[in-house]
């Protein structure tokens, strides 16, 4: 269950190419991202729509004809997952209050990430409840000063730190590759391998690498073998669940529009199936359904 956590959104055709390469490499999900500088306005609402992979099979002239069968290669029941993400680059202290004020705009995205450019901004981003990830620009020569106490506070609150490896593939700028290695080792040293993520902020699908290649790369960042696989599988799913709980009202209730529910679930009736079963089997199933509902937050429907 590998998920690619950062790929820039440049339209439909580039997204189809990205999904086809990632399905060949062995991934099971993608997160399409978008970058913003400093100021958040009302126009920054999420306009991302999930791509229908089954429509391509019906059009015979398209070059991505068999994309739906390609994505079903590994697990034949599960589908290829798609999410949305926002990257915010903050360089001045005056714009931090916008992250608290514009909550409703940030709740339309599944994951929100922050790129602080100085240590004072980094101190204030730790306590914000509207954020999922804190990441750095690793191709610069001098990284931000990080302290152990601040990192431990962030881990208690549930935030994640990120490393991006797309800046290593610039051949004409050999200094960028050297800086990413030294800065990534520095980040791993202060976090001690907890709440770490590895992603690629790539424009082209050529700069993407498979999951086992990334795990081999992580061993050179002084991450031990045991944690290298957990970082790609378990931590990437926990970020998405952190984003889901961020949207709810204190983790209890979530409101959705009625248009998102597919028609199949509304029209399904279980009456025909219950006639064949005994009464005892029906009651056992009802208890299991109740136990499953208690674990998840309640979803209300808004007409």
């Amino acid at each position: 269950m590998f998920i690619e956590l950062d790929f820039q959104d440049n339209g439909k055709q580039s997204n189809y190419q990205a999904i086809s390469t990632l399905a060949q490499l062995g991934y099971d999900g993608v997160v399409f991202s978008r970058t913003i500088n400093d100021v958040i306005t009302k126009n920054d609402i999420c306009t991302f729509k999930e791509l229908d992979l089954k429509e391509l099979d019906q059009n015979e002239n398209s070059s991505f004809k068999n994309l739906s069968s390609l994505t079903l290669m590994k697990n034949e029941k599960k589908q290829f997952r798609q999410y949305s993400r926002l990257n915010i680059i903050i360089s001045s202290k005056k714009n931090i209050f916008l992250l608290k004020k514009m909550e409703n705009i940030l709740k339309t995205y599944d994951i929100v990430a922050v790129f602080p450019q100085s240590t004072e901004i980094f101190e204030k981003c730790i306590e914000l409840p509207t954020i999922d990830i804190i990441s750095f620009d690793l191709s610069l020569k001098y990284l931000i000063k990080i302290k152990y106490k601040q990192v431990n506070k962030a881990i208690i609150n549930g935030l994640f730190f990120e490393i991006r490896y797309s800046s290593m593939f610039k051949t004409k700028q050999s200094q960028a590759r050297k800086n990413t290695f030294s800065n990534a080792i520095n980040v791993v040293k202060y976090t001690k391998g907890k709440n770490l993520l590895i992603a690629s902020g790539a424009n082209d699908p050529i700069n993407l690498r498979g999951p086992y290649d990334v795990m081999n790369m992580a061993t050179f960042f002084n991450i031990p073998f045991n944690q290298a696989k957990n970082i790609l599988t378990a931590n990437s799913e926990s970020v998405i669940s952190h984003g889901v709980m961020r949207k709810t009202y204190f983790g209890v209730i979530k409101v959705e529009d009625k248009k998102k529910i597919p028609k199949e679930l509304e029209e399904s009736t279980d009456e025909d199936e219950d006639e064949d079963k005994n009464k005892e089997e029906i009651e056992i199933e009802k208890e299991e359904m109740m136990i499953e509902k208690i674990k998840k937050p309640i979803i209300l429907i808004q007409k």
Partner: protein
């Protein structure tokens, strides 16, 4: 017994533009691989590899190749392959599928990899799904008969309290 042990890596090359793929040889890959190891890990790493570094097989149609290296230097050769950007002034990307101790197991994995890509091209996965559904239905019918036999003989207390 003292014996030199190797590791064989199965790799797959991916190009940005699918032109001029036939102009590459085994000696070309060896040349670019050696330069990347020198760039990333220095001259000491090349001297430690020595004669054990070698490219055994390369197929220009599918893009699969097999590289041999000593067992202690496997991870360094792996990283130098992932960071390889340009070959013959064209952009490429390399991903490694399998690592083994013999060439024979690498060839078996290469057969599986090509079979999967052929299934996608021919869309035979739909036929595979239908076969599995047919087998699952038969299993369910068997389990239903066993359940009905087991439950009728036992009295369950839950029904009495809810009635």
């Amino acid at each position: 017994m003292v014996r030199v042990k190797f590791r064989y890596l199965l790799g797959h090359v991916r190009w940005q533009t699918a032109t001029k793929m036939n102009s590459l040889d085994i000696s070309g890959i060896y040349h670019y691989l050696k330069n990347s190891v020198k760039l990333n890990f220095g001259e000491y790493a090349i001297c430690r590899l020595g004669w054990t570094l070698n490219v055994k097989q390369y197929n220009p149609l599918t893009g699969l190749f097999i590289v041999r290296c000593s067992r202690s230097q496997m991870r360094q050769v792996w990283l130098s392959l992932t960071l390889l950007d340009e070959i013959n002034s064209q952009k490429c990307a390399i991903s490694i599928i399998h690592s083994a101790g013999t060439i024979r197991s690498c060839n078996l994995q290469a057969i599986k990899h090509t079979n999967n890509s052929l299934l996608v091209a021919k869309s035979l996965i739909q036929i595979k799904n239908e076969k599995q559904k047919h087998q699952k239905k038969k299993k369910k019918q068997k389990n239903k008969k066993l359940k009905n036999k087991y439950l009728t003989n036992i009295q369950v207390n839950k029904n009495k309290s809810k009635k």
